[in-house]
C-alpha cells in the first residue's frame, strides 16, 4: 500500500497542481526553484493547507484533522515552541501520544543525543543557534515515529561537518523506515543520497520525476540539468575500495566499511583514448552509449562497469570525435569520489 496524493492549492498568484505517489519505505525528494511550491505541497500533505486529496495505505486522509494524521514535519523555519526547552519540544509529540512524562523525556533525550545536542537539552529555542534549532526540529519530527515524514530543507542550516553526520543519521533512519518520506531540499547531494526518487517542481507543476540516475541521465530542463550533476551508485566498501552493486570496483580516498553510496560529478570523469599512467586511481574501459549537448557542456553516457556519465567541453568532443560504440578509458581520481554510509552513523 502506498501514498497517493493529488494536491491542488490555489493562492493569489500561485497554483499548485501536483500528483504524488510514494511507496512504503520510499523517500521522495521534492526539488525545485524558490517559490516552486515545495513547502505548499508539504503543507497540503500534512493537512495544514486545504486542497486536493490524500490516500495513505488505502485510507483517505481528506476528512482527517491534522492531528490525526500520523505525520512528522520539519518546518522550513523550524517553529520550535518558544516557551519550551529543546527537550520538551522533542518530548511534546510523545506526550501528545500519551507516553508518560519520564519515558517521553528519556526518549527525547536519546533523540537529542543522536543529533548531537545532548548538552543543549535544557536550552530555550531563542538560546539555540540556527543549526542547533534545525536539529531539534528534526529530532522533534522523528521522535513520534510518523507514517509520513515531511522534511522541509532539514539540513539547510547545518555546517558541513554536522551535515555529514546528520545526513548519515537521517539516511540510516530513513533506510529502516517503513513509512513514506517526502523531503524538500536545494542540495542535490542530499537529494541523491537520501532519496529513492526525485520529483522536480517548477511553478507548481511536476516537470520531471524518476530515480536520481534516470533524472541525471535525461534532465529535461536547465534547472534539472544544473541540479543533478552526479554519478551515484550503491556498493559495499572495504577499506579504500568499493565493490559496486551493479558491477565494477572504485578506489576511494577515505576508507569506509559496509554498504555505502558512492557519488562523483560527471565533470570529474576524464576520457582518454588510451589508458594513461598517473595519479588517478580509477581507470576502466567504457563504450559511448550516447551524447547529449547542453548549453556549454556535453554529457556523455558511457557503458561499462560501472556505467558512468562524463561532462566534457564541446572542444574536447570535437577533439575526440566521439560516436556511440567508441571504446574509451574513463579515468577518475579517488579523491573525487565521496562515500556516504547507507546505514550506521559516521562521516563521509
Amino acid at each position: 500500500m502506498s501514498l497517493r496524493a493529488e494536491l491542488r492549492v490555489v493562492r493569489d498568484r500561485f497554483r499548485l497542481d501536483v500528483d504524488l505517489d510514494v511507496a512504503p519505505g520510499e523517500v521522495v525528494a521534492l526539488l525545485g526553484p524558490n517559490g516552486a511550491g515545495k513547502t505548499t505541497a508539504l503543507r497540503a500533505l500534512a493537512g495544514l493547507t486545504p486542497g486536493g486529496r490524500v490516500r495513505v495505505d488505502g485510507a483517505a486522509w481528506d476528512g482527517l484533522p491534522v492531528r490525526r494524521r500520523p505525520v512528522g514535519v520539519v518546518f522550513q523555519d523550524y517553529l520550535l515552541f518558544p516557551t519550551m526547552s529543546a527537550l520538551e519540544n522533542v518530548a511534546f509529540g510523545l506526550r501528545a501520544r500519551g507516553v508518560r512524562r519520564a519515558a517521553a523525556r528519556a526518549e527525547a533525550a536519546r533523540w537529542l543525543e543522536r543529533v548531537g545536542l545532548a548538552a543543549h537539552a535544557e536550552s530555550r529555542p531563542r538560546a539555540l543557534s540556527g543549526g542547533q534549532a534545525q536539529r531539534v526540529a528534526l529530532a522533534r519530527a522523528l521522535a513520534t515515529g510518523p507514517r509520513l515524514l515531511l522534511l522541509d530543507e532539514p539540513l539547510a542550516a547545518l555546517d558541513a561537518g554536522t551535515r555529514v553526520h546528520v545526513r548519515a543519521e537521517l539516511s540510516r533512519h530513513l533506510g529502516e523506515f517503513t513509512g513514506h518520506t517526502v523531503l524538500v531540499t536545494h542540495d542535490p547531494l542530499d537529494a541523491m543520497v537520501l532519496a529513492d526518487r526525485l520529483v522536480i517542481l517548477e511553478r507548481g507543476r511536476v516537470v520531471q520525476e524518476g530515480t536520481p540516475a534516470e533524472v541525471a541521465r535525461t534532465p529535461r530542463t536547465d534547472y534539472v540539468a544544473h541540479l543533478v550533476g552526479l554519478n551515484l551508485y550503491r556498493g559495499v566498501a572495504e577499506g579504500g575500495t568499493v565493490r559496486l552493486d551493479g558491477g565494477g570496483v572504485l578506489t576511494v580516498a577515505e576508507p569506509a566499511d559496509g554498504p555505502v553510496h558512492v557519488a562523483f560529478p560527471p565533470a570529474a570523469v576524464s576520457l582518454f583514448p588510451q589508458a594513461p599512467a598517473g595519479s588517478p586511481r580509477n581507470t576502466w574501459p567504457v563504450t559511448v552509449a550516447g551524447v547529449e549537448q547542453h548549453a556549454h557542456t556535453t554529457r556523455v553516457r558511457l557503458d561499462g562497469a560501472p556505467p558512468v556519465l562524463a561532462d566534457i567541453t564541446t572542444a574536447t568532443l570535437a577533439d575526440l570525435r566521439l560516436r556511440p560504440g567508441d571504446a574509451l578509458w574513463a579515468v577518475l581520481k579517488a579523491t573525487e569520489v565521496r562515500t556516504y554510509p547507507i546505514t550506521g552513523a559516521g562521516g563521509g
Binding site: R69, L79, T83, F92, G93, A96, R140
Partner: protein
C-alpha cells in the same frame, strides 16, 4: 539595550501616568492621616478588607476558568457570528453595575429564572451571601479578562498551533502547552484587570449580594456607607483599599508578568 527614548512617546506616557496618579495625590493630601491607624486596625475594616481580597481573588479564579476558554472560542473557535458574540461579552461592561445587579437578581435571585430552580432543587441561594459577592464581581469583571485574552490570542502566531497539530496534539493539549504559555502576558494582564475591577466592584455587589458586614460588605461598600456619614473616613478607607491593591499588584513578581519581554 536601547536607551534613548523618544519624547513623542515619553511625554504622552508621562501625561497619562500623571492623569492616573495625580488624583490619588489629591486624595492623599486631603486624607485625615491621624485617623488612618485607628481605621486600619479596626476589626470592621479588617473584615471588609479580607472579604474584598478573598472575593476578588475567587472571582478572578472563576473568570479565568470560564473566561480564558471563552476568549479562545472567540479567537480560534471558528464560530459563526463571532462579532456579535464578542460584542455580547462586553454587555456587563456597558450595563450600569446596579442594573447588572438587578439583572443578576432577575436570573439568580430566589424568584429568578434560574435561581428558583437552584433553590428548589439544590437548596442553593446566591443573593445576599458571600458566594453572591463572588458571582456579582465575576459578572462585572469577566469581560475584561475575555477581551484582553482574546486580543493576545489574535496577536499570537497560529503556526505554532499548526506545528503542535502535526505532532498529534489535541486542541486541548495544544491550548494548554503551546497557546496558553505564549499568551501568558495577555492572560496576566487580563487577570490583573479582572482582579482590580472585582476589588473595586460596588454597584452590582450591593444590589445582588446586599450589604451585610462580615458577609457581603466589601471595602467599596464600606466606603459607600462611610460616604453617607463621614466623607473623610471614606477617603481613608479608599486609600487602604488602594494601598493593599497596589501592594499586591506591585508584588507580582516580574516573572509572572514577564513573558517575551
Amino acid at each position: 539595550m536601547i536607551r534613548d527614548r523618544p519624547l513623542v512617546l515619553v511625554l504622552p506616557a508621562l501625561a497619562g501616568l500623571a492623569f492616573l496618579v495625580v488624583p490619588l495625590l489629591g486624595l492623599l493630601v486631603r486624607a485625615p492621616w491621624a485617623e488612618l491607624p485607628a481605621r486600619l486596625f479596626s476589626a470592621e475594616v479588617g473584615n471588609a478588607l479580607r472579604l474584598s481580597l478573598v472575593c476578588a481573588s475567587l472571582a478572578t479564579a472563576l473568570c479565568l476558568v470560564l473566561g480564558v476558554p471563552l476568549a479562545w472560542l472567540l479567537a480560534r473557535g471558528d464560530v459563526p457570528g463571532r462579532g456579535l458574540l464578542r460584542a455580547l461579552v462586553t454587555v456587563p461592561l456597558v450595563l450600569p453595575p446596579v442594573v447588572g445587579g438587578v439583572a443578576l437578581l432577575l436570573v439568580l435571585g430566589r424568584r429568578g429564572l434560574v435561581g428558583q430552580h437552584l433553590e428548589a432543587w439544590f437548596g442553593v441561594s446566591l443573593p445576599f451571601t458571600t458566594a453572591g459577592v463572588v458571582v456579582a464581581e465575576a459578572f462585572v469583571a469577566m469581560p475584561f479578562l475575555v477581551i484582553a485574552v482574546e486580543g493576545a490570542l489574535r496577536a499570537a502566531d497560529p503556526r505554532y498551533e499548526e506545528a503542535a497539530a502535526t505532532l498529534g496534539a489535541s486542541r486541548w493539549l495544544t491550548f494548554r502547552r503551546v497557546t496558553l504559555p505564549s499568551v501568558a502576558p495577555g492572560v496576566v494582564a487580563g487577570a490583573v484587570l479582572c482582579w482590580a475591577r472585582a476589588l473595586g466592584e460596588f454597584g452590582a455587589t450591593i444590589t445582588f449580594a446586599g450589604n451585610f458586614p462580615g458577609e457581603t460588605t466589601t471595602m467599596p461598600l464600606a466606603v459607600y456607607l462611610a460616604l453617607e456619614t463621614d466623607p473623610d473616613a471614606a477617603i481613608v478607607l479608599s486609600l487602604v483599599l488602594l494601598l493593599v491593591s497596589v501592594g499586591v499588584l506591585a508584588g507580582l513578581r516580574d516573572r509572572w508578568v514577564g513573558g517575551a519581554g
